[in-house]
């Protein structure tokens, strides 16, 4: 069945996303990587819903899409805030506090 291919695709997307979060030093790129993870989750859910023959996965995916939109909204607002104050969105420069 095709479901397994979807799951593998989702796993690959997840790994790329995690790598992006860890390796990228640009706040927007990190945000995009997180989106990638969320989409891999959605893919997973839809594929499982198809295999299991239940609607819960679809519902879950819809919620995730909605919440992710809110999250990105807040996230970009925060990034914009940082950009206004520092003219940069590099994460390595966010080091006011240490210890």
């Amino acid at each position: 069945m095709l479901v397994n291919q979807f799951l593998i695709l989702a796993a690959v997307l997840f790994c790329i996303g995690v790598y992006g979060v860890i390796a990228r030093r640009n706040a927007v790129m990190v945000l995009m990587s997180i989106e990638l993870i969320l989409n891999s989750v959605n893919l997973n859910l839809i594929a499982f819903a198809l295999r299991n023959g239940s609607a819960d996965g679809h519902v879950f995916a819809l919620y995730i899409i909605a919440v992710a939109a809110a999250e990105v909204g807040v996230g970009l607002a925060l990034v914009l805030l940082v950009y206004r104050n520092r003219k940069s969105i590099g994460l390595e420069e966010l080091s006011e506090m240490k210890g």
């Binding site: 997840f14 997180i34 859910l45 023959g53 239940s54 819960d56 679809h58 805030l81 994460l91 966010l94």
Partner: protein, 503 residues
Amino acid sequence: MSSPLLAAVSWTVPTVDYHGLAPEIVVALGLCVVMLVDLFLAERSKWLLASLSGFTLLGAFIPVLTLALDDGGARAMFDGRYVIDDFSLILKGLFLLAGYVVVLLSTTYIEEGEYYQGEYWVLMLSSILGMMMMTSSRDLISVFVALEFLSIPAYMLAAWRKRDAKSNEAGVKYFLLGVFASAVMLYGMSLLYGVTNSTLLSDIGASISGELTAVRIIAIVFVIVGFAFKVSAVPFHTWAPDTYEGAPTPVTAFLSVASKAAGFVALVTVLYVAVPEGSDVWQPLVWVLAVLTMTVGNVLALRQTNIVRMLAYSSISQGGFILMPLAVAAEGGAGGAALRSVVTYLIVYAATNLGMFAVILTVSRKTRSGEISSFGGLFGYAPALGVVMTFFLGSLAGIPPLGGWIGKFSAFQAVLEAGTGWAYAIAVIGAVNSVVAFGYYGNVMREIWMRPVPDANTMPIRTPAQLVLALAITTISTLALGVLPGVALHFGDLAIFAGAFAG
């Protein structure tokens, strides 16, 4: 193969138990009222918003009480996806009262800041609403929605002083790591759904048993890692010190108490209801997390010079103690004791830590400093604040008869009830850690009692009425919980999740 959507044909309107939902409804309405009133208020009467928020939280406490007094048993809605039982009521009460104290802490701070006030209260109320939903959620979807509902406003609160670089940094770090953690947790949840074909926690619990396949192990691990971020367990704690230090101090109080408690609520619900049979996987994981959390938190706290940052590490370390009984919760019937210990610990920790922040806010109004040394000689010129702060420090260190000891005690009790080798090992590690912790709590006490005033400025401290009330509430609860620990333990003595570890 029929479409899954067509399979659910017999759809009926679910019954809604309005009494059961009343606390949430009150907070939701109050939130809307605050938002609307804010639009029409002149700048000088914005203080009304604080009172409105406070009354909303107290108002929501009334239905919590009526529900608690009603002994009709647990109320379940939506096929058991949203449950109002003793566990959720006690924690709702805790969140509402903690929220009320945070409102008291915030009032003067927010009025004296030059930022938007209305938004602050709306965000705070939404976050509390999310926490209340979390206590009742018994479904992966509602757990997720509640988690985001409480987190997203918190990200914005952390960055509330928007022209302050530290506050920005606090918000961005909190946001990125928080969202990343929930994404990882979601991946785990999607796998859980995949292997059990249900999002209802109790269904998942019923189908996960016997041999654990690789997918199940990964699913459980990812979900726990997601919550570990939320409760700032080491090694997923890196956001906490920066966020706590950078965020406005009342928000830090809120995050370190309420948000952390909500994380534990979610963790406990998932562990107890969804994956009790997966204890072979999560017990060792939680064991390691607990040991690392209490030890690393302690060691790093020892070398802090900023009081809020020190409290951030102290709160990490306290989180380790809350995790400790969960590491053996499935052994030898210790499940009930572990649950009791978590709830008890959260209650006393909330009272103590909020009180601590109340003192810090009061003192920093005079000293304008966050350094531990700014507390030097406090006992000399403000004896009441000095003594109260000593109570809170002693309570966090777990010294009887101050509240904190009963939290630590019940944690040790739960661990020893399990009685396995791992349990004894973690008990001894915990005992040693509770001594090390006195190193930094005692350091603050030493400043307060034994050191000179740093700038020889011994003007008395003017304490605003709201902070006096907050101090009174937290001091009395800290002392009362310590002297009559039966009260706190009684709240924690919950018969819910029955059969979670029956097998």
